[in-house]
C-alpha cells in the first residue's frame, strides 16, 4: 500500500525526529539500504507513526534489518507472553503435563516429609561451622587501620554482661580466623591461586532426596564450569557430585572433562566405571575410544568403536573415528590391516578358551613380549598372538569384570593405565624407525627408486604365494621373517640377518620345495648385507636367490649394487641391464647403467662392450608389462638404448596403453555377454600391462564373484584397496566375497564401510542386514569354521605385510611413469589421498561437529574441511558451531571455502559465509583476526564477486562484506 504515494504526497523534506529524507521511507530504498543504523532510524520513524502508518513498509524494514543484523536492538519488540497458540498442541500438552507431574510429585513429597518432620530441627546444627566472630565491623570505604582497631576492641568482652555471652568455641574459632586472616592477605595478592574446594560432601543426616538434589546441583555446577571451559573446576564438582551419589552420567561427564584436561588415566578409569554400571553406554564407549586412541591403544579404541557400532550401526561419528583410527593404525604399522581382520577372529578363539584358568598369566607374559618386539607381535604365530589379543581384549572389554579381575590379581601393583604402555611404546618406536628408513632412502638417492621398484616382483611373488594359501611360509618362518623385516626397517641390519638366517635354516630344514620363499628370504638377507656394506655375502645371497627364482628384480638389483660398490662394474652393468629388461622404468637402474657405461669407457676404451660377459636374455614371462615388445631391441642393440631410450619408452607406453584399452574393452564385452571366465582372462592380461589400474581389478573381482571364486575375488579387491583405500566398488565386492567365504563379520565390516562412503547404496544396506542376520545366526556354531578362516587370514597377513611395505614406495614409482588414462567402465575412483584422507558425513550434532573441526584444525586439512562444509547444511552452521567458533575454525572455513567450494559452488560458499556470520561469537572471532587473515576473507569475497550464482546478488555480498567488517 502507498509505496509510491509516500514520497509523492509529502514531496521533499525530512522526517521530524531524525531528519531522514522522506524519500528514504520507500520500499526500494529500504531493500537496497545496507546501513543498519539508518534503517533502525527509519524503523523508529515508521513505528512512531509520525509520518503516517505503513504497516507493510514497517514489516519490510524490520525484515531488512533482521537480514542485515539479526541481533539489532531495534528488532526487540514488546511481546506478550506466549500462549497456547504459540505452540503446537503437542508441545502445549507436554508443557502442561510436565508441570502437573511435577506438582503431584512435589505434593507427595511434601506429605512424606511432613511425617518425618518431628525430629529434624537442630539436627544439623552440630555440623555447622561456628558463628563468625561477633560484630566485626567494616567501613564501606577502604580504611584498614580503623577496621582493625574496631575489631580488636570488640574481640574481648568489655563488661560482665558481655562475658555472659562469651562462647569458648566462638573465641577459638576467632583465633583460627585471625590466623587465616594474616595468611589470606598474602593469598589475596597471589591470586589466582586455585581455590580450595572440598572434594567431598558430608552427607550425614541427609535423606535420599536431599542427596539427589545435592548431587544434581553439583553436577549442574560441573556442567557450567565445563561450559565455561574451566575443566579443573568441572572435575572438582563432578567429584563432589559423585561423593554424594555416584551415577554413570556424572562419571561420563567427568571423563569428558578429564579428556579435555588430557588426564587420560583418570578419564579411562571413569569411562570404565560408567561401563561397569551401564555396560552398553555409548558415550562412555566413545570416550574410552578417544582416550585409548590418545594413549595410542588404537586396537582397543577400535574395539570400543565397534561396540558402539554394534549398538548404533548408524552412529556416523563412531564410523568416522573408526575409519580414522584404522587409517592411523595402517600408517603406524604396515601390517595392521590384515591384523585387524585376523584379530577379530582370534578374539573368538580366546572367547572359546576363556574357561582356561591361566589366562591372566598369559596376558601378562605376552604383554612383556609385546613391549619387546613391537609391532612384530601382530604377525606372531598362532598361540602367542592369541595371547597378545587376550591382552588387548582385557583393555577393550572393560565390562568384563572377570577378565579384569584376573588381570588385577596378577599385577595388582601395576595400575591399569600402565598396561597400555608397552603397546604405546612399541608403536612409537615403530613409527620412528619408519621415519628413519625413509630418511635413509632419501639420503642415498640412487638406491631410492631402485628400492621402490624392488617391490614389484616381490609383490607378484608374494601374491602368488598368497594365492594358494598352502604354499605360504610356515608360521615360525613367517614370524622370523616379519621380525627380520621389522629389524631391517628399524635399521638393525645385523640382527635382521640373524632372523633371516634362522628363517632360511628353518625352511630348508623342512625339506620342502619352497623356492619362492627361500628366494625372498635370501633376497632380504642380501639387502641387509648390502646395507651393512658386506658386499660379498650380499652377492652370494643374491646368487642363491636368483638360482631359486631366476630373473627376480630385487636380488638382481641388489647384486648390481653390491658389484658396483666392489668396483666390479662389468657384472654390475650386466645386472642392471638385466633389470632393465625386466622393467625398463627403474630409474636407478638406468642411471647406474649410464654411470657404469662411462666408467667402463674410461677404463676399457671404446671397445668396452666386447669385454662384457654376455647379458642374459630375459624370458618374456619375466618381463614386466611396460617393456612388452621393447626387450628385443635392448638385447640386440644395447648401445642404442641410451640414445633412443626415451623415445622408445614413450612409444612403448602408448602401445601398452592401447593394448590395455583394447583388452579391457574386450573384457567388458565378455562381462556383458555373461562369459565371466573369458572376461577374467582378458582382465588378467590387462593386468600384465598395468598393475595399477584399479578398475581392471574390480572388474575381475566381479567376474570371480560370478564364478564363485571368492578367494580370488577377495584378493583382487584387497589389491585395489591397497592402492585406493576408498574404492567403494572394491569394498562392496570384497564384502560379497567375504559373504561367499562365510566370513560374515568381515563382510559386515566391509558393507558398513561402503555405507560410510556412500550411505545411499541400497544394495549394501540390504546386504548388510542380511549379513548381520547371518552373523547372529551363525553365532556359536560358526566359531569353529571361523577359526579356520582365522588361520587362513593369518597366513595372508604375512604376504599382505609385504605388500604393505611396498606401498610405502609405491608413490615414487607412480610419479615416474604413468600414462594410463583412467578411462573406465566403473565410476571414477575417489582421488588417491592415501591414509590422510578423511571421509566426511554430515555431522549430527554440535559435539560431533566440534570434534570434526578439531581434527581438521589439527591437520589443517582444508580439503576435508571443504567436504565437511559441502555436506553440512549452511543453515545448521550456527547451531553446530554453538559457541565454539574460534579464529582457527573461521580461518580454515574461509580457506576451504576459497580453495575448494567457491570455485565449484559460489552459492554454497555464500550461504556458508552468511550463516557463519550468524554463529555465536562470530563478532568476537572476527575482531581477533589478523591482517593476513582478513586478507584471506577479502580474497574469498573477491572470488565470490567474480563468480555468479542465483543464491546471492552483489548487494547481498556487499552487505555481507560489511558484516565481515571489510
Amino acid at each position: 500500500m502507498g509505496d509510491e504515494s509516500v514520497p509523492y504526497f509529502l514531496g521533499e523534506g525530512t522526517t521530524k525526529t531524525y531528519q531522514i529524507p522522506i524519500s528514504h521511507l520507500d520500499y526500494k530504498f529500504i531493500e537496497k539500504c545496507t546501513d543498519v543504523k539508518h534503517l533502525e532510524k527509519i524503523l523508529r520513524v515508521l513505528r512512531s507513526g509520525e509520518e503516517g502508518c505503513y504497516p507493510d513498509l514497517t514489516l519490510v524494514c524490520e525484515k531488512r534489518i533482521e537480514h542485515l543484523d539479526p541481533r539489532s536492538r531495534a528488532l526487540r519488540k514488546d511481546k506478550p507472553p506466549a500462549t497456547a497458540s504459540d505452540f503446537t498442541a503437542g508441545e502445549w500438552q507436554a508443557i502442561n503435563s510436565e508441570l502437573m507431574n511435577w506438582l503431584t510429585e512435589m505434593n507427595e513429597d511434601d506429605r512424606k516429609s511432613q511425617l518425618l518432620r518431628t525430629d529434624t530441627p537442630n539436627e544439623r546444627q552440630d555440623n555447622l561451622p561456628p558463628v563468625r566472630c561477633s560484630s566485626s565491623c567494616l567501613p564501606t570505604n577502604q580504611n584498614k587501620k580503623l577496621q582493625n582497631k574496631q575489631r580488636s576492641k570488640k574481640n574481648i568482652p568489655r563488661d560482665y554482661s558481655e562475658w555472659d555471652k562469651f562462647d569458648v568455641e566462638k573465641e577459638c574459632s576467632k583465633i583460627d580466623e585471625d590466623c587465616e586472616e594474616s595468611n589470606s592477605k598474602a593469598r589475596f595478592f597471589s591470586r589466582p591461586s586455585l581455590p580450595i574446594i572440598e572434594k567431598k560432601i558430608d552427607t550425614t543426616g541427609m535423606t535420599n532426596r536431599d542427596k539427589i538434589i545435592i548431587a544434581t546441583r553439583e553436577k549442574e555446577k560441573g556442567n557450567e564450569a565445563f561450559a565455561s571451559g574451566d575443566y579443573v573446576e568441572a572435575v572438582t564438582y563432578y567429584t563432589r557430585s559423585l561423593s554424594v551419589i555416584p551415577t554413570a552420567a556424572v562419571y561420563n561427564n567427568k571423563a569428558q572433562a578429564e579428556i579435555k584436561l588430557q588426564d587420560w588415566d583418570n578419564a579411562l578409569e571413569d569411562c570404565e566405571k560408567v561401563l561397569d554400571m551401564e555396560p552398553g553406554n555409548i558415550k562412555a564407549l566413545m570416550r574410552r575410544a578417544t582416550v585409548h586412541s590418545h594413549l595410542q591403544n588404537y586396537q582397543t579404541a577400535i574395539e570400543d568403536l565397534n561396540k558402539v557400532l554394534s549398538v548404533e550401526p548408524k552412529n556416523t561419528n563412531a564410523k568416522k573415528r573408526l575409519l580414522e583410527l584404522e587409517e592411523k593404525l595402517k600408517s603406524l604399522k604396515p601390517v595392521s590391516e590384515p591384523q585387524g581382520k585376523g584379530k577379530k577372529i582370534l578374539i573368538q578363539e580366546i572367547e572359546d578358551a576363556e574357561s582356561g584358568e591361566g589366562r591372566g598369566e598369559n596376558t601378562e607374559e605376552c604383554e612383556r613380549r609385546g613391549g619387546g618386539s613391537g609391532a612384530a607381535a601382530a604377525v606372531r604365530a598362532g598361540g602367542q598372538r592369541a595371547m597378545g589379543n587376550a591382552h588387548r581384549k582385557s583393555h577393550g572389554k572393560g565390562g568384563k569384570a572377570r577378565d579384569r579381575d584376573a588381570h588385577k590379581n596378577q599385577d595388582s601393583a601395576e595400575s591399569r593405565p600402565k598396561k597400555g604402555e608397552p603397546e604405546k611404546k612399541s608403536e612409537k618406536h615403530l613409527s620412528d624407525h619408519e621415519g628413519e628408513v625413509n630418511g635413509f632412502l632419501r639420503s642415498d638417492e640412487k638406491s631410492e627408486s631402485a628400492e621402490a621398484e624392488i617391490s614389484e616382483p616381490h609383490r607378484e611373488e608374494s601374491q602368488s604365494a598368497g594365492g594358494g594359501s598352502s604354499t605360504a611360509l610356515p608360521p615360525t618362518a613367517a614370524k622370523l621373517k616379519s621380525e627380520g623385516n621389522e629389524l631391517f626397517k628399524s635399521g638393525q641390519f645385523g640382527e635382521a640377518v640373524l632372523k633371516y638366517s634362522e628363517a632360511i635354516e628353518y625352511v630348508t630344514s623342512l625339506g620342502e620345495q619352497r623356492p619362492d620363499d627361500l628366494s625372498i628370504l635370501y633376497s632380504n638377507r642380501a639387502a641387509c648385507y648390502l646395507k651393512e656394506g658386506n658386499c660379498s655375502d650380499c652377492i652370494q645371497d643374491c646368487n642363491r636367490a636368483l638360482e631359486l627364482q631366476p630373473f627376480s628384480l630385487k636380488p638382481l638389483l641388489r647384486r648390481a649394487m653390491a658389484n658396483e660398490s666392489m668396483e666390479r662394474y662389468r657384472q654390475a652393468y650386466i645386472d642392471y641391464k638385466t633389470v632393465l629388461q625386466i622393467d625398463s622404468s627403474i630409474q636407478a637402474a638406468n642411471d647406474s647403467a649410464n654411470r657404469i657405461t662411462k666408467t667402463l669407457i674410461d677404463q676399457d676404451g671404446p671397445s668396452w662392450r666386447e669385454k662384457l660377459p654376455p647379458i642374459p636374455v630375459v624370458p618374456v614371462a619375466a618381463q614386466l608389462h611396460r617393456w612388452d615388445g621393447g626387450s628385443l631391441t635392448s638385447e640386440n642393440k644395447p648401445s642404442t638404448i641410451d640414445i633412443n631410450r626415451e623415445e622408445q619408452l614413450q612409444m612403448n607406453c602408448e602401445e601398452a596403453v592401447e593394448k590395455f584399452k583394447r583388452l579391457k574393452n574386450e573384457g567388458n564385452d565378455f562381462v556383458k555377454m555373461g562369459e565371466y571366465e573369458e572376461a577374467a582372462n582378458k582382465y588378467s592380461e590387462c593386468m600384465k600391462l598395468n598393475t595399477e589400474e584399479c578398475t581392471v581389478y574390480t572388474n575381475r573381482a566381479l567376474c570371480y564373484l560370478k564364478l564363485y571364486k571368492y578367494e580370488e575375488a577377495k584378493r583382487d579387491c584387497d589389491h585395489v584397496l591397497q592402492i585406493e583405500d576408498s574404492n567403494i566398488k572394491a569394498f562392496y565386492r570384497r564384502a560379497l566375497a567375504y559373504k561367499g567365504l562365510q566370513n560374515y563379520q568381515a563382510s559386515a565390516d566391509d558393507f558398513s564401510k561402503v555405507l560410510l562412503i556412500d550411505p545411499n547404496v541400497l544394495e549394501a544396506q540390504k546386504e548388510l542386514e542380511e549379513v548381520t542376520q547371518l552373523l547372529h545366526f551363525d553365532g556359536s556354531a560358526g566359531a569353529g569354521s571361523q577359526q579356520t578362516h582365522g588361520k587362513k587370514i593369518t597366513i595372508q597377513e604375512v604376504t599382505e605385510a609385504d605388500e604393505q611395505e611396498e606401498r610405502q614406495f609405491a608413490t615414487s614409482e607412480d610419479a615416474e611413469t604413468h600414462c594410463v588414462p583412467a578411462e573406465e567402465a566403473v565410476p571414477k575412483p575417489v582421488p588417491r589421498r592415501a591414509s590422510e584422507k578423511r571421509r566426511v558425513s554430515e555431522p549430527p550434532n554440535a559435539y560431533d561437529f566440534g570434534q570434526m573441526i578439531n581434527a581438521l584444525n589439527a591437520n589443517k586439512d582444508k580439503a576435508a574441511c571443504a567436504d565437511l562444509l559441502t555436506v553440512t547444511d549452511p543453515k545448521t552452521l550456527p547451531v553446530l558451531l554453538s559457541n565454539k567458533l574460534e579464529g582457527e575454525t573461521l580461518l580454515i572455513f574461509i580457506q576451504s571455502l576459497e580453495h575448494y567450494i567457491a570455485g565449484k559452488d559460489p552459492g554454497l560458499a555464500y550461504q556458508h559465509l552468511f550463516y557463519l556470520s550468524k554463529a555465536e561469537r562470530f563478532k568476537v572471532v572476527l575482531a581477533l583476526l589478523s591482517k593476513n587473515e582478513k586478507g584471506e576473507v577479502q580474497q574469498l569475497f573477491d572470488l565470490l564477486s567474480k563468480s555468479w550464482s542465483d543464491q546471492y546478488s552483489l548487494e547481498d555480498l556487499e552487505s555481507l562484506k560489511k558484516v565481515y567488517e571489510l
Binding site: 530441627p121 561477633s134 577496621q147 581455590p195 563478532k923
Partner: protein, 360 residues
C-alpha cells in the same frame, strides 16, 4: 531462519495470574514445594505475608498472615531444607525469621537497622554455600549487616560508611563466593551507583566501582562457587555483567553492559539450574531472558603482565511484556527448571513457565 530460531528459542508462558489486594514487594518459592510466598504492604499500612500453593492452573491461598510493618523482602537462603524458615526485612528495619508452620511469633527477631531493609539475602542454607548460615541485610540507613541466626541481637559483620561521610541508601545485597568454609563475599549496590564487594573472610573491601546510576539489584550467578559472574542492574535500564574470576589490580573486573529497555531494571535472577541464563525484570512491566556467553579466553595478560579478565557477550533469548507497571520481584523455582514467579506493582503475581531452557 528466523522461524527456525524462533522455534528453538525459549518461550515465556504466563501460566497463572493472581490479583492481590495489596502491594507485593517480593515473592519467593518455598524450597522443595509447589508453594510460593508473597510479601507486601496492605493499604492500611500493615505487612502481609501470603502462602499460595500452585494447584494446576490456579493459585490456592493456604495462609495469610498480617504483621504490623510492611514487609519489603524475604529469603530462604539461610535455612535448612527441613526447616524452611523465612527471613524477612521490613519497613521498620527489623529482621525476622519465621516458622511458616507457626508464624505468630518469629523464631528470631532483631531490630537490625534504623530504617527500611531494602534487600535481604541468605547463604549456607538449603545446601547452597559452604559454611555457616548467614543472612545479609541492606538498608536505607546505609549499612549492610551480616547476621547469623544463632547469634541474637548483634550482627556478625557490619559494613557502614565511616563517620562523617554521607550515608548512601543501600538498595541491594547479595552473597557469593561461598565455595568453602572460609570464603564468602557480600556485594552491595547503592543509590549513587556504587557497587561494593566485601570480603567476609578478610573483612576487607575487596573491590568497588560505580556504574553511574542507582544499583537496583545485584546477584552472583551462583553463591556457592568460586565467584564467577555478577550481574548488577541499574535505574536507567542498563545492566552490567562482571566476570568475577579475574581481578585486575587497577582495572578490577571486566564487564559487559547491555541496555534492556528505557526503564529501570528492578530485578535480576539467575536460573538456579544454569548460571549462564538470567532474567531481568523491567520498570515497563517486561521481562528479558538473557544468556551470557564466555569468551574464548577468560583472562589475558595486560602490558605489565597482570592478569585481567575478558568479558563475554550477551544474547537476548526472549522478552515479553506482562504488565504496564514495574515488575518488582522475580524468583525462579529452585526445584523445577523454568518455573518462575514474579510480582508487579499492578498488584498481580504471575506464575510463568519458561520453556526449552535445558536446550540452550
Amino acid at each position: 531462519m528466523s522461524a527456525v530460531l524462533a522455534a528453538e528459542r525459549p518461550q515465556v508462558v504466563s501460566h497463572v495470574q493472581q490479583a492481590l489486594s495489596y502491594t507485593v514487594f517480593d515473592c519467593k518459592w518455598v524450597p522443595r514445594s509447589a508453594r510460593l510466598l508473597c510479601l507486601g504492604s496492605a493499604a492500611r499500612g500493615t505487612g502481609v505475608l501470603q502462602l499460595y500453593e500452585l494447584n494446576g492452573a490456579r493459585l490456592q491461598l493456604l495462609r495469610e498472615i498480617e504483621k504490623p510493618k510492611p514487609i519489603k523482602c524475604g529469603t530462604f537462603g539461610a535455612t535448612s531444607l527441613q526447616q524452611r524458615y523465612l527471613a524477612t526485612g521490613d519497613f521498620d528495619g527489623n529482621l525476622n525469621i519465621w516458622n511458616l508452620e507457626a508464624p505468630e511469633i518469629p523464631v528470631y527477631s532483631v531490630k537490625g537497622h534504623k530504617e527500611i531493609i531494602n534487600s535481604i539475602d541468605g547463604v549456607g542454607g538449603l545446601g547452597i554455600g559452604e559454611g555457616a548460615p548467614e543472612i545479609v541485610t541492606g538498608s536505607r540507613d546505609g549499612t549492610v549487616k551480616v547476621w547469623d541466626p544463632r547469634q541474637n541481637d548483634i550482627p556478625v559483620a557490619n559494613m557502614e560508611s565511616v563517620q562523617g561521610e554521607s550515608k548512601r541508601d543501600c538498595w541491594t545485597v547479595a552473597f557469593g563466593n561461598a565455595y568453602n568454609l572460609e570464603e564468602r563475599v557480600v556485594c552491595a549496590g547503592y543509590d549513587n551507583g556504587d557497587i561494593k564487594l566485601f570480603d567476609l573472610k578478610t573483612m576487607s573491601l575487596r573491590w568497588e566501582t560505580n556504574i553511574k546510576n542507582g544499583v537496583c539489584s545485584v546477584e552472583f550467578d551462583r553463591k556457592d562457587i568460586n565467584m564467577n559472574k555478577l550481574v548488577a542492574t541499574s535505574l536507567e535500564g542498563k545492566f552490567h555483567v562482571f566476570d568475577m574470576r579475574t581481578q585486575h589490580p587497577t582495572k578490577g573486573f571486566a564487564y559487559v553492559s547491555e541496555k534492556a529497555q528505557k526503564s529501570t531494571i528492578w530485578q535480576v535472577r539467575h536460573l538456579p539450574q544454569n548460571r549462564d541464563i538470567f532474567m531481568t525484570s523491567g520498570g515497563s512491566g517486561s521481562l528479558h531472558l538473557w544468556k551470557y556467553e564466555y569468551p574464548a579466553q577468560r583472562s589475558k595478560k595486560d602490558s605489565e603482565g597482570c592478569e585481567m579478565g575478558v568479558a563475554g557477550s550477551l544474547s537476548l533469548l526472549q522478552n515479553v511484556t506482562l504488565s504496564t507497571q514495574p515488575i518488582s520481584s522475580l524468583d525462579w523455582s529452585p526445584d523445577k527448571t523454568g518455573l518462575c514467579v514474579c510480582g508487579a506493582y499492578d498488584q498481580t503475581v504471575r506464575v510463568l513457565i519458561v520453556t526449552k531452557l535445558n536446550k540452550i
